[in-house]
Structure formats: structure tokens, C-alpha cells
Amino acid sequence: MRIQNNMWKAVILIGGPDKGTRFRPLSLDVPKPIFPVAGIPMIQHHIEACSKVPEIKEVILIGFFHYTEMLKSFITMAKQKYSLSIKYLSEYGPLGTAGGLYHFRDQILSGTPEAFFVFNSDVCCNFPLSDILHFHQSKNGDNRITIVATEATHSESMSYGCLVEDENTNEATHYVEKPETFVSSLINCGVYVFTPDVLRCYMAEVFRQHQEESLEMGMGDSNFPDAIKLETEILAGYAGSGKMFVYKTKEIWGQIKSAASAIHANKLYLSVYRRTKPEVLAKKNPDGPIIRGDVFIHESASVDPTAVLGPNVTLGENVEIGAGVRVSNSIVLSGAKLNDHCCVLNTIIGWKCKVGEWSRVEGTAQQPDPNAPYSKIISGQLFNEDGRLIPSITVLGREVDVAPEIIILNSIVLPNKNIHANSKNQIIL
């Protein structure tokens, strides 16, 4: 039965603490989905986009995190700010990327929504949700998926889910997750639309099969039988069935797996602000600090007028920037203090960190290839073949205190450390 009541929902899959380990040490202090990029938590960007689509009536977060104070207060804030119903459904075990959807199907389908969006939490995108919604409605069939896709370069595509599309019908004829050989340059963005039957029919069947298999194989099977993998079990199954449609987007898109990609996402979102709400970006002002390019400064931050900020800088709540400070291509999280004359480049400065006078905290920006039009950031390995750290974004965890006149280069510093000596290409535990 096809519902056409214009009532939609959105589900954001936020994962759990065992996921997102490449995001440590930042994810040691805060669940990765709430980590702020361009001034607001990662998933707030999704929620904000949903709030602009009148059809979406509820946002459901599904994950394996404990329902902590942090999550609670985020959700309370978001509910108020966007006047949207938002709830968090906590999985009882690791249910994989789709098991939670199936498990909570009753809640998702309560009120009989016509269809629902599904988002990966670590997607960074200028979501064209209304457009996707109408695209989905234009396709026939009760049991169908719309998958949002974008172009990547040939070699980069193999790090993502790859789709083959029939351009006449927009049908996805093939799907494979992270292939070892080149299949297609069209990649899965981690944003989908499902009709209710996907849950009720297809996934139910997959779930039933899992239960049977686990009974046959007996106890001791390491795979949690209730877990369902969205990419390999659902999407791969729908491809070629005439029931999965590809919505191609040229909007900015990135995945946030590591600190380096968070910096890149910060830059992407700031550029979106420049287009869609330039008033939130810092303006050049003769009495204020020098601003280069896109810079976001929280209203409670205090910045000395001799500082030079940008491009691609975000300053969080109550951040203090001293005289003659230089910050470029970096995220400075709330409560941090950068003392006079210091220089912060390609770095994430954690909550309440202090950087001493004249110190230099520097990382190496990993850029997508500026010459390849569809190039994306790849969150690659931490170490190279010799076991040495590959130069990347420098990360200072929460409450790290950096003494004056120090250099920290291409290093990762875990929370609460006091740094008195220079550090290069190291992880400081």
C-alpha cells in the first residue's frame, strides 16, 4: 500500500563508542556525532537541514551510545531550537548499520510516514533534502530505496560504496562496498530514503534468515545475529531489482572519519554558510581582528584586534585569542585559550586547551587533489610502512596545556597532558 500523506521522518544512525575510533582522541571526550564542525555538532547540520523540509515531522537518532547527559542536553537543545520532535533510541547490542532500523521499526513507522530519510551521522553535506524528497516521490513502487550519490575520482571511489546507475531510469543496477578493483566512480553518500516496506518486508526477511542461520550454527558464532549490515545486505540486494534509485548530487560532500576530514568538513560547511547564510561568518571590521576567507566566531569568544584569523577557522564558545595570534585552517573548541603571538595551523585545539606564548601548533592539511574535479578526502592510515606517523592534522585533546615557545608539529596529544618539550610526528599518550 502506498502512502501519500506528505508525512515524513528522518533517522540518523549515530553509531557507538566502538565506532569512530579514527576520531580519537577527540571522540574520547565527546560522542563523535556531537563533535562540532563549523560551530555546531556534526548531526545538528543534518537536523537543521531536516527542519527546513516541512514534510519531516520527526527526527530519530539510533545508536549504541549510552544516553548520557551530553546526548540528552544536545537533544533538548535541538528540539527547542528547531521545534521538531527528536528522540534517541539506544540499541541493546551492536546491531550494525541497519539492525537498529529494523529493531525500532515500530517507532520509525508510527504515525504511518510516507517514507523516511536515513543519514549516516558522519556525512558532511549541503543536503538538498526537498529535492531528494520530490525525486523519491516521483518514482513508482511501494518498496523502494532512493540512494544519494556523488562523483569521486577513479582511485578514491574504491574507498566507498560504489554504484552503477542506469541513466535512463535512474535505477541502481549494481552496488558494491569498498571494492578492491575499480567498479564505478559514483559513490554512496550515506544518505537514503526508504519506504516503510523496506523495513517491514525486505529487512524482516533478512532478519529472519539471520536468526535461522544462527540457530543452525549454534552458540559461539561471533556475529551478533540481530545485526544487519545496510550496505552489504540491504543495498546490495536492492541493486539491480528495479527498486533502488540513484539521486546524483553535485553539492559539496565529505565523510568525517578522522581529524583531518573534520578540518576539511569545517572548510566545506563554512563555504556553504558563505553561500546560504553569510551573516553568521565573521566580518572584516577595522576595529577587530584581521579576517581572511571564511571564519566562524562564536559570539561569546573574545579575540584581540591584532590577531589574524582564517581562512577556514572556527572558534567555539568562550574561546580567548590573545594579541598577535595567527590561526589558519583550524578548529578551536570551546573554552580554549591561545596566548599572545602563538601560531596555530591545520590543527584541532581541544576543549579548554591552553597554548603558551609564541608557541607553534601545526599540522599538515590533507587536501583532496585540487586538480581532480571530484576528488574527495580519504581518511587513510595513521602510520606509513615504516611505522612512522604520516603527517596529518595536529590534534590536542581536552585540557592540554602547551608551554610557551614550544613547537608541536604533526602530532596527536591525548587529553590532560602538559607539554613542555617540542614534539614532532608523535602521539603523546
Binding site: 594579541a323 598577535g324 599572545d340 603571538h341 601560531c343 606564548e357 607553534r360 615557545e405
Partner: protein, 381 residues
């Protein structure tokens, strides 16, 4: 013009003390600085190295200074001419046609250093050594024992890098020399400052000869060689890291002897330790300079700069909020804002380092523009 190409630059009285400075060649260890400026003229503590030596010699009664060079430099000639006039002394160049080692040049300069009329002892020194130059004391000590030669020895932390001297503590009579010993023998080394009687000339010829290997050992055997220990400071500043070490020692010595020459805190500039600033240099607000910093003529230090243990040569500019430690910034160079320069980085003449650059142990040749950081020691041509 005689085949040896020696010529006087001023005519004053002869018959008083004479000295020879072994200038040698191109000063390659102090590159990139010596690519533009002959080593004797490289400023150490805001004064050409050679001038420190010549002025000290003049104070000890020297009126003729012979410069033993292996190539002639117009710049050196012209400058030394001016100083000679000013000090009222005679400066003579003695140029070797082929490399004559450490003793050959002395023999070559014989006619300038002594003749039938003059048989006074004469000083010899390496052009790379800085010290408090106790030449008067050296002369006294030398006359006291009445033997043919006296060398200065300096106490060092790592003697096996040099030639070590073994001698009688009471008298100073030298027993023997040991080149680069494997095990500890003594911590006193040849400081490259000597005083000899003209009789020494019979031991040398104007041919390639090593004074340490072919002259001193024989003198020691015959008990004709004595040494005097340098009590104050000494350093061979022929390479950048030693240049900076020597700079620290020199500033410490200045503090003891002429503290009024050092810079005092003023106008929002914080001074730490010993800092020497030329009167034409300008320092901005909120800077913290020192310890052990030398700023040359017309140097500009912008606001919020931190400099430690470094020399900034004439007309260089250090832009705001930069941080410098253990570096030599060459003449007319510019270091950009928020730069970090450390670990014996040496900038040649007119090098331009852009904003936010990090330089670690880098030697940069003259007239280069640097727009990417160099985080590991390297030479930038």
C-alpha cells in the same frame, strides 16, 4: 709588485711589535655567510671578527699586522685600509700562491715579521679564534721563560675534536702534542694563538708545512715550547654552531668588563640576560629579547618578537610575532610574521622568509625566497 704580491697599506714607524693573522681561504665552514663577505669581515658581536683581533693586538703594542691570505679580496683590502688608517698601524697582505698549510705562511711572511734591525718576538693567530686576547700577558710570560715559542691553550669539554697539549703545570713547558686522542689525555688544546722569536724561522720554509706536526713537536723535544692557559673565554668560531656559542661567551665577557655596552630594558621591550644592540637598530612593542642576542645596525624587530641566542646582521628585518632561537640572520634578510626559526639555522644575505614558515637547522643561500617550511635540517640552495 713582488711575486708574492705583498704590499703595504700605510707607512708608519717600524721596529715595534708585529703580528701575523692566518686568514687562509674561503671560509667554507661559515657558508652561506662567507659567500658574500670574506670571513674576517663577518661581524661578530657587531664588529668584524678581524677587527676584534687587530684592536687587541694594537692594545698590546703591535704596529704592523700581516694578513696571510690564500686569495685576495678587494673588499677585505679596502676595509682593512680604513681600519689601518684609523688605528695608525701598518697592514700588509702576504698571499700564498699554493696552499702552504699552517706553518708555510709564517715562513712566507718572514721579511715582514723580522729583519736585522728587528728581532722582537711576533704574535701569530688563527683568524677564527675569539678570546679576551691576553696578548700583553702572553708577551710577559714569553719573556719570562725566555724560550723560542709560547702557545695559548684553552680548556675544552671535548678535547678529542682537537689537538691536545700535554705540559708541565708549574712552568708551562710543553712535553708533547696528541692529535685527536681516542682516550682522555688532557683537556687543554692548542688555541691557535702564539708568540714566537724570529729564531723559529730556521724551522720553517715557505712550503706546505704543518706547524702542529712538523714544527711544534721538535720545539717541544728541545724544551723550547711553552704554553699559557687562557683563563677567560676562547672559541673557534669557524662554523655556525660555534659562532653562536662564542657569541654567548663574548657577551658574558662584555657583561663583566663593559656592562654599559649591553642593552637595557626600555619602552615595553623585555630584555633577558645579555643583549647587544646597535644604536641604529629598532625594536617594537611587546618583544622579549635575549638572553644572548646581538642586533646589528639598522635591524628592525617588529612587535611581539621573541629572540634567543641569535645574531641578526645589519639591515635585516624580523617581522611581528616571530620566534627565533639559535640562528644567524644574514644581512638585509627578512623573516616573516609568525615564523619559527631554530636550531642553528643560518640565513645568507638577502634571504626572504615568508610568513608562518618553520625553519629547523636550515642553511639558506643568499637571495633565496622561502615559502614552505623546512622542518628538518637541510641546505636550501
Amino acid at each position: 709588485m713582488s711575486p708574492n704580491k705583498s704590499f703595504s697599506l700605510s707607512n708608519t714607524s717600524i721596529g715595534t711589535m708585529k703580528a701575523l693573522i692566518l686568514v687562509g681561504g674561503y671560509g667554507t665552514r661559515l657558508r652561506p655567510l662567507t659567500l658574500n663577505v670574506p670571513k674576517p669581515l663577518v661581524e661578530f658581536g657587531n664588529k668584524p671578527i678581524m677587527l676584534h683581533q687587530v684592536e687587541a693586538l694594537v692594545e698590546a703594542g703591535v704596529e704592523t699586522v700581516v694578513l696571510a691570505v690564500s686569495y685576495m679580496s678587494d673588499i677585505l683590502e679596502k676595509e682593512m685600509n680604513q681600519h689601518a688608517k684609523r688605528l695608525g698601524i701598518k697592514i700588509v697582505f702576504s698571499q700564498e700562491d699554493e696552499p702552504l698549510g699552517t706553518a708555510g705562511p709564517i715562513a712566507l711572511a718572514k721579511k715582514h715579521l723580522s729583519d736585522e734591525k728587528c728581532d722582537k718576538p711576533f704574535f701569530v693567530l688563527n683568524s677564527d679564534v675569539i678570546s679576551d686576547y691576553p696578548f700583553s700577558k702572553l708577551l710577559e710570560f714569553h719573556k719570562g721563560h725566555g724560550k723560542e715559542g709560547t702557545i695559548c691553550v684553552a680548556k675544552v669539554e671535548e678535547p678529542s675534536k682537537y689537538g691536545v697539549v700535554v705540559y708541565e703545570g708549574d712552568t708551562g713547558r710543553i712535553h708533547r702534542f696528541v692529535e685527536k686522542p681516542q682516550e682522555f689525555v688532557s683537556n687543554k688544546i692548542n688555541a691557535g694563538m702564539y708568540i714566537f722569536n724570529p729564531s723559529i724561522f730556521k724551522r720553517m720554509k715557505p712550503e706546505p708545512m704543518s706547524i702542529e706536526r712538523e714544527v711544534f713537536p721538535y720545539m717541544a723535544e728541545e724544551s723550547e715550547l711553552y704554553c699559557m692557559e687562557l683563563k677567560d673565554f676562547w672559541m673557534d668560531i669557524g662554523q655556525p654552531k660555534d659562532f653562536l656559542k662564542g657569541m654567548c661567551m663574548y657577551l658574558t665577557s662584555l657583561k663583566k668588563k663593559s656592562p654599559e655596552k649591553l642593552y637595557k630594558e626600555s619602552n615595553g621591550v623585555t630584555i633577558v640576560g645579555n643583549v647587544l644592540v646597535d644604536e641604529t637598530a629598532r625594536i617594537g612593542k611587546n618583544c622579549k629579547i635575549g638572553p644572548n642576542v646581538v642586533l646589528g645596525p639598522n635591524v628592525v624587530i617588529e612587535d611581539g618578537v621573541r629572540i634567543k641566542r641569535s645574531t641578526v646582521m645589519r639591515e635585516a628585518t624580523i617581522k611581528s610575532h616571530s620566534w627565533l632561537e639559535s640562528c644567524i640572520i644574514g644581512w638585509e634578510s627578512t623573516v616573516g610574521q609568525w615564523a619559527r626559526v631554530e636550531n642553528v639555522t643560518v640565513l645568507g644575505q638577502d634571504v626572504n622568509v615568508k610568513d608562518e614558515i618553520y625553519l629547523n637547522g636550515v642553511r639558506i643561500l643568499p637571495h633565496k625566497s622561502i615559502s614552505t617550511s623546512v622542518p628538518e635540517p637541510q641546505i636550501i640552495m
